[in-house]
């Protein structure tokens, strides 16, 4: 039996690697619009004529050969990938318009940016002000994307004028990073704390702290879109998002070493929200006879969506979790409805989202399959004296 589980883990782990590589190959084969095509989609050749000055700058005229201006093209690091921005200026550098040329951001973030008027606010600013300053305020709830737009404008100007980019600011280890490490450590230690009262106290401190700090105040959590972006080869900016590396890296390391999914049990803010809701009624554990079979459906759905997002070169497609809706009030109507059902169910069933729908649970289940390579896991998958299989370290 142990050998069977061991072999299955190896097959699953190898299969996942192969599928991710294949999805990336499909993604790279997909035709992406060239820079020229992107520019022409915003400034049609019938209405404008463009003369390239360098890789980041064009002289632009309208059809009557009057109102000359410049067009700058640049990229900034967004939430799911690079955000390409076209900046149209007059000859003195005053911005006439900002256009998003390319991005793979979550649609709700882009909606938030457009509704905030960030792109139109740039209309009164000179592009030189972007050089070493941030003349536009970040949009709350879409901070990373709005910062990416500012950086894209800055880099397009600096690169086109041959000016040096801002120096590397260094990795910032702030409060967020410290708290992420403390939360992960506290979550991991729960399994080894024996006094029941102390264990309960730490559990409740984690529930409240992760919900308030990670969830509502900083919106720092793992989502399938971020994982899809990383697996597509897009690495988030380490200077601004070190916490993400700590959160994801720490969770994976803890699974590989201790075979415990600390993130889902103790760190996820939405898990904490469900835990709190479960105490209102109080909710009961619901484990139907088809639960284990359903887990395969849940995990397969996560894998399928992840691979689709990678193959389509669009990590935003992988957004079906309700985290953003709950903590930021952004998302589609369907996601709001799913959230409503989840909240109501949480009053009666413990952690319904985690147990029946969460894609992150699927991601970590696949990470758990990689523990099958270790000898310790091979031993742990053995049959217990009572005849049941030890499931702590087995894939399922």
């Amino acid at each position: 039996m142990a050998d069977k589980s061991y072999k299955r883990n190896i097959i699953i782990a190898a299969g996942i690697i192969v599928l991710i590589i294949l999805a990336n190959i499909v993604g790279s084969l997909r035709q992406t619009a060239s820079e020229q095509q992107l520019i022409e989609s915003v400034f049609p050749p019938g209405q404008y004529s463009l003369h390239k000055e360098n890789d980041n700058k064009w002289v632009i005229y309208d059809n009557n050969r009057d109102k000359p201006g410049f067009l700058y093209a640049g990229e900034g690091r967004g939430y799911n990938g690079m955000v390409g921005v076209l900046t149209h200026t007059d000859t003195t550098g005053n911005i006439l318009g900002l256009e998003l040329a390319s991005h793979s951001e979550t649609p709700s973030y882009i909606d938030r940016i457009i509704n905030s008027g960030l792109l139109t606010q740039a209309g009164n600013i000179n592009i030189r002000e972007f050089a070493y300053d941030e003349p536009l305020d970040a949009v709350s709830g879409a901070t990373i994307t709005s910062n990416a737009i500012v950086i894209a404008v800055r880099h397009s100007y600096l690169d086109s004028e041959g000016l040096p980019r801002e120096p590397f600011s260094g990795i910032v280890f702030g409060l967020n990073e410290l708290f992420v490490i403390l939360i992960m450590a506290a979550g991991a230690s729960l399994a080894y704390i024996r006094p029941r009262k102390l264990q309960k106290t730490i559990t409740w401190m984690l529930v409240v702290f992760t919900l308030v700090w990670l969830g509502f105040m900083n919106n720092q959590m793992l989502t399938l879109t971020r994982i899809a972006a990383i697996l597509s080869g897009y690495l988030p900016d380490v200077t601004r998002e070190l916490y993400l590396y700590l959160l994801l890296g720490g969770s994976i390391i803890l699974i590989l070493i201790f075979r415990r999914n600390v993130y889902c049990h103790s760190v996820c803010p939405f898990g904490s929200a469900q835990e709190l809701l479960a105490r209102v009624k109080p909710a009961r554990s619901f484990k139907p006879s088809w639960y284990r079979k359903w887990k395969w459906v849940q995990w397969s759905a996560a894998l399928l969506i992840l691979l689709t997002a990678i193959a389509m070169n669009n990590p935003g497609l992988a957004q079906y979790a309700v985290f953003g809706v709950f903590f930021q009030f952004t998302g589609s109507t369907i996601l709001f409805m799913i959230l409503f059902v989840t909240i109501v169910l949480s009053l009666f069933i413990r952690r319904p989202w985690c147990r029946f729908a969460c894609p992150i649970d699927g991601v970590f289940a696949y990470v758990r399959a990689f523990t099958g390579f270790s000898g310790a896991s091979r031993q742990a998958c053995k049959i217990k004296p009572d005849g049941t299989k030890s499931r702590k370290s087995c894939f399922i």
Binding site: L277, V280, K281, P282, F336, F340, I343, V344, L347
Partner: protein, 102 residues
């Protein structure tokens, strides 16, 4: 006689609210019997919490549908969805207070 004149009568609105008031009294008397039947003992503060919750539900339904009626459908649904969910959670908490073993 034009029948629509009846619906434009100024007496209908006060009559409507009088009927509604009567229904409320019936509802609370009925709730008292139902709670007794369900073996839930009520004190004055439990009645007060229940009434507050009930009033909250009314305000949210009234507010949400007023927004929808004023062609602010998105805002109305948002209002009903967010505050309705909060009232469901508070309702579950209230039920726990009323019937701790339920």
């Amino acid at each position: 006689m034009d029948i629509t004149v009846i619906f434009e009568s100024s007496i209908l609105q006060p009559l409507f609210w009088m009927v509604m008031g009567g229904l409320m009294i019936l509802l609370f008397i009925g709730a008292g019997y139902w709670l007794k039947d369900a073996g839930i003992s009520m004190s004055w503060w439990k009645w007060m919490l229940s009434a507050l919750w009930y009033a909250g539900v009314y305000v949210i339904i009234a507010g949400g549908f007023t927004l929808i009626g004023e062609h602010e459908v998105r805002a109305g649904l948002f209002f009903l969805g967010v505050f309705g969910t909060v009232m469901i959670i508070l309702g579950a908490g209230l039920w726990r207070i009323l019937k701790p073993n339920g």
